[in-house]
Symmetry: C2
Subunit: 331 residues, 2 copies
Amino acid sequence: MKGARPIKIVSTGKYLPKRISSNDLENKLSIPNGWCERYSGVKYRHHVTTETNGLMGAKAAEQALKKANFKLNDIDFLISASGSYDYPIPNQGSVIKSLMKEGNQTDLAAIHIDSTCLSFVAAFEIAAKILDGNKMKNILIVSSEISSKALNENNWETATLFGDGAAAVILQYDESGSSNFIKGAQKTYSKGMEYAMIKGGGNAFWIKDHPFEKELHSFDMKGKKLLRMAKKKIPEFMEWFYKDLSIELTDADIIIPHQASKTGLMIFEELFNFKQGQVKGTLEKYGNCIAASIPLTLHDFIESGEIKRGDLCMLCGTSAGFSVGGILITY
Amino acid sequence: MKGARPIKIVSTGKYLPKRISSNDLENKLSIPNGWCERYSGVKYRHHVTTETNGLMGAKAAEQALKKANFKLNDIDFLISASGSYDYPIPNQGSVIKSLMKEGNQTDLAAIHIDSTCLSFVAAFEIAAKILDGNKMKNILIVSSEISSKALNENNWETATLFGDGAAAVILQYDESGSSNFIKGAQKTYSKGMEYAMIKGGGNAFWIKDHPFEKELHSFDMKGKKLLRMAKKKIPEFMEWFYKDLSIELTDADIIIPHQASKTGLMIFEELFNFKQGQVKGTLEKYGNCIAASIPLTLHDFIESGEIKRGDLCMLCGTSAGFSVGGILITY
């Protein structure tokens, strides 16, 4: 298709910390038995015990390297793409790189890109555009997220929904195959900026002046407002996205939406006439892993063989900000 | 030059909060009179009173828009590029956009890029590569930094060095003029990852388990180790950066190094044979403003007429991570 770039997903990797069943969580948070799965649609999620964002990211990245039969030195650029992080300084990309086995022996650049839940999608689009087959042959994108620390156990809606985990993808400029990056875009609708926030912990509510408070330092989601906005903006975005392409959203072989929530996914499916099995997800087994949800789902369905070379794939979703975004690729 | 892209800096803007003289700071922090300027080389720095990163960024961005005679709607992509931020979620780009006058009426994408002090340089390189004169005609980069909150007043070295402030730059794909993006690169040397950190406040030292402690939540710099690493890596980086160009670093008309510190800048100047006035800086009047230092300096010297169209400019520096990076442009 017009404007397509010869970008190939060489390999993927993932790392998941300890698995927590809905039953475990219900017992831990004194939630009535069965509530968790019924309302959140999440059977299992993973929560860190000793892991950091950096460690999970490094492990996912090393798995992707191993599968590609690459050394870290074969990578030209490392992009950390997530909404959560280990330290305010330095950037999370540097942290992930430093925890990789060959991190200290290599000098590739490491930066961090944050578009909250769309961080992976945003980083993929940027990577696909800056890969040139010359100085930029291979880019490693790592999304590593810890949401379990910033959950308010009194807020069952979020406490049961989110999970931790990491996924990594190696992208390559490769003119020899049929893999392509076709199009990417994001739109940020600022009226929704306050619909999903962790308010405390940055400069606006500086820790010295604002010690830990459950509400202030936990993820707060205006669920109904978010859903209303998503319902309106997702179809507008998709119409606009596909306007100059010769196809529609439903022509994609595979659609991986951000695993936002059970209701969010239901609304997404109701908005379009998808075919059975066309939309892939991992909400049930991983929960919402912020920016790691899309690459985790991508990884699992590549591994299972359900995503095959040549498949037209749309990775898309919404994020705090409030944004809608997506990328269309041929795997 | 080979590989150059027709990228033009259309306009720049800045915002500075309240000015604090070294004398004011000495009185406030009980530092001996005269110590501040003598050791840090900083006469004035600015500290926020009521401002947030978002507000300062929005103001700098609006100044750049006004000078370009642009509406926000003329911008295709907003990149926040900084090491500090208002909220853990959403990303700082969304926050800046939402605080701009036309923020709610526009749907351009807003994301955040973090490479600590090199965030602006990293964002400029990415912007220059994704601008295409078609769907991406204009990109707004905003670096807004608050360092004054995370300073440990017992650590005179950092407490006197850092300042707050914001700068914004509009980049345009423009084939009609002589402005160019020639080259950009960054190298991350992970052995130095721990030489500059704010350890507390992210997931590694989560606020619930780690309440405010001066040391943990302040910027901590292993000054001597950083300087030793910079002394070794900057010349290596520059030699490598200029190897495939027909010129050397000292051939640039204007060199804007990150305003890291008085000693850092002295070492940088000692490493190369710069001409009088070739290296521009703002350390004396703004201190080290993290990623905002380079665009603030760029802004001021464009405003003063000392940077002129056609000038070959190198913007470069080091950042926590530890990274060395730079971009070479024709203004």
